[in-house]
Symmetry: C2
DNA sequence: GTCTATAGGTTGATAGAC
DNA sequence: GTCTATCAACCTATAGAC
């Protein structure tokens, strides 16, 4: 699938990126077959290493899963840290943020769902997310802050709760991504562009002031 | 909830509600400990029956899980079938629908997440949902249809895509419920009332026509 | 660092008594 | 309908050779 194979340049000692291969294999198993099928046998086979190698690199199953969580959550953490550059027009800001967020969610949501399969895993991930203050509220805060700034600048109508509006926007991204996770035939949700279009229209300052 | 119980016409043989107890126990295990801990032993112990009884009533683990899925999805199916009564003001319609939806999602999302733990379960549930045409799009359709009717009646501004707006609303409910699933400390998302307030304000017909 | 082999422990599912 | 007893299959994790 992902056309990323090691270059055959290496020669001599086999550093054998087994560690990364195992992590990637684990992630792939979770996404494609579900966390219930994530056994040392399955991962090792997919990564092209032995079962024992899995335990060597990641102590136990829980350790491997934690590594998968951190790896998967990292891009989301980076997105949360980077703010939204103010000044740009709402349409481009929402479009860029929305698409970026959905792409990240598409990658992370399967892993988050997998963590729900076991109370211990769930708590571990919740702790990890709490430490970095991750979650939908970060997106709401980012977009809400941006909208408030736009309101202050008079470019967005000021009589609505900016964070409530941000909640709607983030919610539509989250739901769209969630829905893609369950491969149900040809179900159509309003695309991001439509949501942005409606939002921009509704957020326009009172026409009389133009 | 739905006060629909069978008439107690049956007589003679003792029903011994082991079947329902098993189903309830399974649902509880999934919610509290995660589907990975759903073993015949655990379920039987919680239901107060023997392990073999679990297999007697539900053939195998897969059968039990399918029963749990159908049972959990039923209320959602009923919500999807019931439309939204038009004519009522947007605030009450959105409030009633939103709260009802979130309550249902709070109960169903853990089960949907559990189904993601195994490809076979996931596909089975996807099929089931596809058959009844379940999913967020039903909520979007219901609210979108309502908003279009309001637009036609001139009670809602007509220059926005009703279904895009509905998507925002359903999305905010879905995301809020999803977020409650992961017990992270004291994370605050804008409450339903704030979203409805902003939406009502933004959907008001052009002031000039008043 | 990576392998083979295996110990040790759970689990799903069945058989047969009551 | 429900139970006890049991087994084959599977999984995690470790030990020790290369």
């Amino acid at each position: 699938m992902t056309a990323v194979d090691e270059t055959p340049k290496r020669r001599g000692r086999p550093p054998a990126g087994g560690r990364e291969a195992i992590l990637a294999a684990a992630l792939r198993v979770i996404r494609e077959r579900g966390i219930a099928r994530l056994t040392a046998r399955e991962v090792a086979s997919l990564a092209g290493v032995s079962e024992a190698s899995v335990f060597y690199h990641y102590k136990d199953r829980f350790g491997l899963l934690q590594a998968v969580f951190e790896e998967s959550l990292r891009p989301l953490r980076e997105l949360a840290e980077g703010g939204v550059e103010p000044g740009s027009d709402p349409r481009s800001v929402l479009s860029l943020y929305g698409h970026t967020l959905e792409d990240f969610l598409d990658g992370v949501l399967p892993v988050i769902a997998a963590a729900q399969s076991d109370a211990e895993l769930r708590d571990s991930m919740a702790t990890y997310m709490a430490e970095d203050d991750l979650g939908p509220h970060r997106g709401v805060r980012a977009i809400g802050d941006y909208l408030r700034a736009e309101q202050a600048a008079g470019r967005v109508r000021g009589d609505v709760d900016a964070y409530a509006v941000a909640m709607m926007f983030i919610g539509s991204c989250y739901t769209r991504s969630s829905q893609r996770q369950m491969p149900m035939a040809d179900v159509e949700l309003p695309p991001l562009e439509d949501v942005i279009g409606a939002m921009v229209a509704m957020l326009a300052p009172d026409q009389r002031s133009v």
